[in-house]
Structure formats: C-alpha cells, structure tokens
C-alpha cells in the first residue's frame, strides 16, 4: 500500500508544481462556459435550459486536457519502466495514477461548477444537481480516459489519438449525467433513475479501467 500512496502523492505533487497543469483544466472549463453565451446569444431562458449540458460538455473536454500526459510523461522519462518493475500489481499502479488525475484535474472542475453555473443563469437546485452528477460521473471519465492513455502511450503524437479513442466511449456518461441534471430541474422523470445508472457507469469503469489499462500496457511492451 505504501507504493500506492507514494505514487498518488508524487503525481498530485507534480500536478500542482510548475508545468503540472492542474489549474489549466479549470481555466479551460471557464473559457468553454463563457464562450457559449457569445455563440448562442444572451437569452437567459435558453441558457438556463441548456446550462447543464454546457457544464457537462465543458467538464468532459477539460478533463481530457491532462489525460494525454497521464502515462506518456512517465513513458518518456523512463519512469514507466521502473513502475513496471515494482512489486505493486500494475492494476494498482494505474489506479493510483487515475486517482491522482481525478483529484487534481476533475475535482477542481466539480468545485468550480457552482460559480460557472451562475454564469449560465442556473438556479441553486440546478447547480447542485449538476455538481452532484459531475462528482459522481467524472471518475468514469478518468477511468475510461485511462484506457485510452494506456493504449496511446507508446505512440508518438499519441495525444491527438487520445480524444478520438476516448470521447466516443464517454457518450453514455454524458447522456446520463445531463439526463439526471435535467430530471432534477425540469422533470418529469425522477432524478434517481438516471443518477443510479450514472453511478453504475462509474463503478463499472472503476473496475474495468485499471484492468484494461494494465493489459494495454503489458501488451505494449516492445
């Protein structure tokens, strides 16, 4: 377990140091959300209606920003070789990296959501619903992204391949995240059903992601 926490702490420390890019995600999120009113016009009723979808899309794209460096950085400087030679199972190693990514890249997005929700004229209940669905749904984004990061790790310019691989797989998370938020705001569906499915997607990808990513890394040994 000390290997797990050592890796988690190192990755978190790297993310907040210079060039780590933990805050870049929040800034990107802010820019995406502020751009939308310029594109669709300052119609407050319309913004309120599409607000949850904008926040979810923004968070999805922002969480992708740091994903391509998740394993590629360790591959380039040789750290990945040594990580593979540790006594910790590779599944736990990638899980630790995913956990660090979630804490440093996705959690700040969830925390920034209430403020950005105000920009979109959302009511407190709606803001709460979006923040809650993001809190429940972003671990799934990280774990799905982890698989993409592992698959693209050995490729030069793999950073461009990653969104192409990952984004289609995140569609279910996006659908149920936005559906749950909208259900809480306008009904008529209950909030519970889509939210439960969102939680199930997260739990499923928490199990599947590390195993798939570890398998991809092992297969990529060349």
């Amino acid at each position: 377990m000390s290997s797990f926490s050592a890796l988690l702490l190192r990755d978190m420390r790297l993310a907040v140091r210079v060039g780590g890019g933990a805050l870049m995600g929040v800034l990107f999120f802010l820019i995406v959300v502020t751009l939308v009113p310029f594109a669709v016009g300052p119609d407050l009723a319309q913004l309120r209606r599409i607000g949850p979808a904008i926040l979810w899309l923004g968070a999805l794209l922002a969480s992708l920003l740091t994903l391509d460096r998740l394993l590629a950085a360790d591959h380039e400087d040789g750290s990945l070789d040594l990580l593979l030679m540790g006594t910790t199972p590779l599944e736990l190693v990638v899980l630790a990296k995913a956990a660090a990514h979630w804490i440093t890249s996705c959690l700040p997005l969830v925390i920034a959501t209430p403020l950005l929700g105000l920009f979109l004229n959302l009511e407190p209940l709606a803001i709460g619903a979006v923040a809650l669905t993001l809190l429940a749904g972003t671990p799934a984004l990280t774990c799905i992204g982890l698989i993409g990061a592992a698959l693209s790790v050995a490729l030069r310019r793999g950073g461009l391949l990653l969104p192409v691989l990952v984004l289609p797989l995140t569609v279910p998370v996006l659908i149920f995240g936005v559906a749950a938020s909208n259900a809480a705001i306008i009904g008529p569906m209950s909030f519970g059903a889509p939210f439960m499915i969102l939680c199930a997607l997260t739990l499923g990808s928490l199990v599947l992601g590390p195993f798939a990513a570890a398998a991809a890394l092992r297969h990529g040994l060349e």
Binding site: S2, A6, S79, L84
Partner: protein, 201 residues
C-alpha cells in the same frame, strides 16, 4: 546463493532478429560485461532480463532469491532514461523511488552521500547536469537493496571521480552477494566476465 541463468534466449524487435540462442550463467558476487557493437542487442538483453521486453524464445530467470518475487522485482534497471521528474527536488525524486520500490529502512541520506549529491538535496532535478542526473539514478540502487543490477552504459556522463565511486559501489554490491550485468563500451573498473554479442553481425 543466487543464480541468474538464461538458456536459448532470443530477441526479435520489429521483425528483425537481434540475437538468438544466448546462454549465460551468473552466480552471486559475479559481474558480467556485455560488449559488442551498436545494435548488437546489449540493451535488449538487459531489458529482457528486467521483464520490459518479452523473449522470442528461451527464458532468463534469477533463482535462489525471494521465492514470491519475479526476476524483475529483484532487479534494478539503470537505463539511458533516468526516470527523474524535473519539478521535484533531488531528495523528493529519490524518496519517491525508495517508497515505491521497497519497504527498506530510510537510507536516502546515506545514498545521496554515497553518490556525492548530499549538498544539493533540495535542488529541483531540472537544474542537474547529465552527470548529476546519473549519480541520482545510482543513488536509487544503493537506497533500495535489490540483488541484481542491470546497468546500461553506467559510466556514461560520469566524471573520473564518479566512475571511481561507481566502481566502489559495484564492488560493495558484489561483495554483499549481488550480481551485476552491465552493457558497456569501456572499462567498468571492476573484475568482470564478458559476454560478446553480435560477433557475426
């Protein structure tokens, strides 16, 4: 008594055969120098041993050590890449690998002293020279005890004093019952057996 043995080992990379039918046998306290021209497979043999490449045929394993550990888990690999994070300090880089790789007692300061980096422990690794980066990688080998050292050009970028210190460290490791396999073009400064690769290439 530890024994590293390989039989019928073959390596294929990118559909090109690098070497075939390598046999070797190395006992505790022995060092093996891999020599041969560029591209003869010295680094590939080290990576095979470290479990970072899959052999196309044959096997290589370390017997007589901790039964529940694989060969890779009993080995240190010192490659061309130094696995250092520029934004972490010298001490933080070493501390991470010590915590990650082993449950050893805290020997970090002794290790930094051993490679002559004690005075700059708080400097971010981004400011280190190539030789200092190599020294910091070597500190990892001392701080976490593992019986098999796999060294790829360990003397590169080291100054004369650094090379002497490396030779001392290797001698200590061997006298403690360790094994060393090193790819090299020059002299390591210690008694070694030699395995010549790519003689026919």
């Amino acid at each position: 008594m530890l024994r590293l043995s390989a039989s019928g080992l073959a390596c294929v990379r990118g559909s090109r055969s690098i070497f075939t039918d390598i046999n070797l046998e190395l006992l505790s306290g022995e060092a093996l120098a891999l020599v041969g021209p560029n591209g003869s497979g010295k680094s590939s043999l080290l990576r095979l041993t470290a479990g970072l490449l899959r052999p196309a045929a044959g096997r290589i394993e370390l017997a007589g050590g901790a039964a529940e550990r694989t060969t890779a888990e009993q080995a240190h690999y010192l490659g061309h890449l130094d696995a250092l994070k520029p934004s972490l300090t010298v001490a933080e880089n070493l501390a991470f690998w010590v915590r990650y790789l082993g449950d050893a007692p805290d020997t970090r300061l002794a290790a930094l002293t051993g490679v002559g980096l004690r005075g700059i422990a708080d400097l971010p690794a981004a400011y280190l020279s190539a030789g200092q980066r190599r020294r910091l990688s070597l500190a990892r080998l001392i701080a976490v005890p593992r019986p098999l050292w796999l060294l790829d050009e360990p003397t590169s970028a080291l100054d004369a004093a650094g090379q002497d210190r490396l030779a001392d460290l290797m001698r200590q490791h061997l006298s403690g019952g360790g094994l060393i396999v090193a790819a090299t073009h020059g002299s390591l400064g210690i008694e070694t057996r030699e395995l010549r690769l790519g003689g026919t290439a």
